[in-house]
């Protein structure tokens, strides 16, 4: 109700005054959040601010104690799980696979919501898995086991599984954790391609603010379970907000490559730079 209308298009997924808790430990109280169609939204915030909890609630992995999640205008509780799983795919933070599982067999499990007890595998499934592997560039690794992959490849294998679900919406919980910079860029380039070329709506939790600014249309900054700011990277990544959310002094300059805001942290020992406090230079990317 109070969530501001997003810029990109009709709302696909919305959290309405949700209260999220693990047992008695309340993480978020009456939180509002909305995802617009065909946008890439990044949720940022310090450790333990409730980013992943919100993503888990959006992806049906955690049931809100109060409030509701709305998917395409329907309360998600009233959508049968299999049907919801054909619209929203979630990549949890640290998924686990049985040892010795081949990439193709992992990705094949993404077809579960499309199958039934008498139709457990079909040519359509085979094509969907092949397409997913092709998108992530993992087709050549299809017969390898997950243990034989590098960290970046493993992450792409898991993303392939979510892609094989063939959903419009993709929720990724820290898809770049444990990856070196090159592999982070690789994964985020894939996210951008999925969004721009294949029309997927993406919500991801990211730790790297500069990459979040570069690769998403909308940033949502959270702290202590509440949304502190939402909007374009320029609107959200201001020194004031960063000080409030992360408790860290920062200078914000324009990214020399993309023109998006670039956050430069300032430690207590550094002199206060001139640029701190000045807004980012350029408007958002195309």
């Amino acid at each position: 109700m109070t969530s501001e209308p997003p810029t990109g298009g009709p709302e696909r997924l919305r959290a309405e005054r949700v209260t999220l808790a693990y047992g008695d430990n309340v993480i978020s109280h009456e939180l509002d959040f909305a995802v617009a169609d065909r946008e890439v939204t990044a949720i940022i915030g310090p450790n333990g601010c409730g980013k992943s909890t919100l993503l888990r609630a959006l992806g049906r992995l955690l049931r809100p104690d109060a409030g509701r999640i709305v998917l395409d205008g329907r309360p998600i509780r009233s959508v049968p799980p299999r049907e919801a799983a054909r619209t929203v795919a979630v990549l949890p933070q640290s998924p686990q696979a049985p040892p010795g599982l081949a990439v193709a067999d992992l990705v094949a499990r993404g077809r579960h919501p499309h199958q039934s007890w008498y139709r457990q595998w079909s040519g359509t499934d085979q094509e969907a898995v092949a397409r997913a592997l092709e998108l992530t560039g993992m087709l050549d690794c299809a017969e390898r086991t997950l243990e034989q992959l590098s960290g970046g490849q493993r992450q792409r294998a898991w993303i392939s599984m979510a892609l094989a679900q063939e959903t419009d919406l993709l929720l990724l919980d820290e898809p770049t954790t444990f990856l070196d910079l090159a592999h982070q860029i690789e994964v985020l380039d894939l996210v951008r391609e999925l969004n721009e070329r294949h029309g997927r709506t993406v919500v991801m939790v990211l730790h790297d603010l500069n990459l979040a600014a570069r690769y998403s249309h909308r940033l949502v900054a959270m702290s202590r379970g509440a949304v502190r700011a939402a909007g374009t990277a320029e609107e959200v990544l201001t020194p004031d907000l960063l000080a409030e959310v992360f408790g860290l002094r920062c200078a914000v300059i324009a990214d020399p490559v993309s023109g998006t805001p670039l956050v430069v942290p300032v430690s207590a020992h550094d002199p206060v730079p001139d640029t701190a406090g000045s807004p980012a230079a350029s408007p958002s990317e195309g």
């Binding site: 949890p92 599982l101 457990q120 595998w121």
Partner: protein, 372 residues
């Protein structure tokens, strides 16, 4: 451009994609399954082994001189009354019970190991087997008073006691380890605790009672097919005819569950409900098996692991584990009955002797393959 499911190789598609992925489907009418040649071959080979062991069981368990020719004649409707009695009333129920019990244990083990995501999970470690044993032994020891179990108590009391005991143990283990979901390690720890408690209670009951009941209880506790008759075989066949299809259907969720609760929920699985159904079905399978033949150790532990390695699968394959469990039990029973003839050892003694070295061989072999 996803063409209808007819395509496995449609020339209109761009070159790579589906053709590059070797995961064909097997279609029969509206139904279709993944076509895994290796798993199919394993299932076929194990079925042949199972059939051969079954036939061998019909030809010779006992000292009676009824050979292959006579058995064939009896099966085709001929033979004299004596031969018919030996084949139909003595050997057939025993072979059938062995195959069914082994199949139930293999399938149950495959499900339990997948759900717990731990190869150590089995009716033996989760206390279901010993729970069933305590129910049956209690009936043997307490129900029979001085004269031993007879009549209705023997026919229904012991199996009913086994089923009640096994279900009670399963309920206790799953209930005590349930804390907003089942955690694998907690499940195993609670299971081992319940298992040891039940085992010690069984031994206490056997020391406490008279020698005669204790001897009967001992035979039952070791797991044996000597006493198999049509009542037991029939009861097992009817219940398993319901339970096995149910287990195989519910087993569809095992792939998704193997990726962890969050991923499984994301794939549209009702995780708690699916797991509860799977655990209940596998506990019932064990109870039926145990009530028919006593606790036969190791089949539920070894058959799924052997089947998994033979199929080169990442999780125990339910159907192959089931077939292998049946074959393993039948072969073990024949070795137990024949190796030290005329002394007939209980089958439970031989399942471990037969399965353990082979499983170890496979584990060592697979370790060399560098896929853990």
């Amino acid at each position: 451009m996803s063409a209808p499911a007819r395509t496995r190789r449609s020339p209109a598609r761009p070159p790579r994609s589906a053709d590059a992925l070797n995961r064909p489907a097997l279609r029969i009418g509206p139904a279709s399954w993944p076509w895994r040649p290796r798993a199919a071959l394993v299932c076929l080979a194990v079925t042949v082994l199972l059939a051969a062991a079954f036939l061998r069981a019909l030809v010779a368990f006992d000292s009676a001189d009824v050979g292959l020719a006579e058995v064939t004649a009896v099966l085709l409707g001929g033979g004299d009354p004596g031969q018919r009695f030996i084949v139909w009333e003595l050997r057939m129920p025993r072979a059938l019970t062995g195959a069914l019990v082994g199949a139930a244990l293999g399938l149950s083990g495959a499900i339990l190991q997948s759900v717990a995501r731990n190869p150590l999970a089995s009716p033996d470690t989760l206390g279901i087997g010993w729970g069933a044993a305590i129910g049956a032994v209690a009936v043997i020891v307490l129900g029979g008073s001085a004269g031993g179990v007879s009549g209705a108590a023997a026919q229904f009391g012991v199996p009913a006691g086994a089923i009640a005991g096994g279900l009670a143990a399963a309920l206790a283990v799953f209930g005590l380890s349930w804390r907003s979901g089942v955690h694998s390690n907690r499940l195993l720890l609670v299971g081992i605790a319940v298992s040891l408690t039940c085992a010690n209670l069984v031994y206490w009951l056997m020391t406490w009672t008279d020698l005669d009941s204790a001897a009967r209880a001992q035979t039952w506790v070791t797991g044996s097919l000597h006493a198999a008759d049509w009542d037991r075989a029939g009861a097992a066949a009817v219940t398993l005819a319901v339970l096995i299809p149910a287990a195989l259907a519910a087993g569809r969720a095992l792939g998704a569950l193997g990726l962890g609760d969050d991923a499984a929920r994301g794939l549209g699985v009702r995780v708690d409900a699916a797991r509860l159904v799977l655990l209940a079905v596998s506990a019932l399978l064990v109870c039926v098996a145990t009530s028919a033949a006593g606790p036969i150790n190791f089949v539920a532990l070894a058959a799924p692991q052997i089947a998994m390695r033979l199929c080169r699968a990442a999780q125990p394959p339910p159907a192959a584990s089931m077939l292998l469990g049946g074959a393993l039990t039948l072969v073990a029973d024949q070795l137990a009955a024949g190796l030290f003839a005329p002394t007939q050892l209980p089958v439970g003694v031989f399942t471990a002797v037969l399965g353990a070295p082979y499983l170890m061989y496979l584990i060592v072999l697979r370790h060399r393959e560098a896929r853990l």
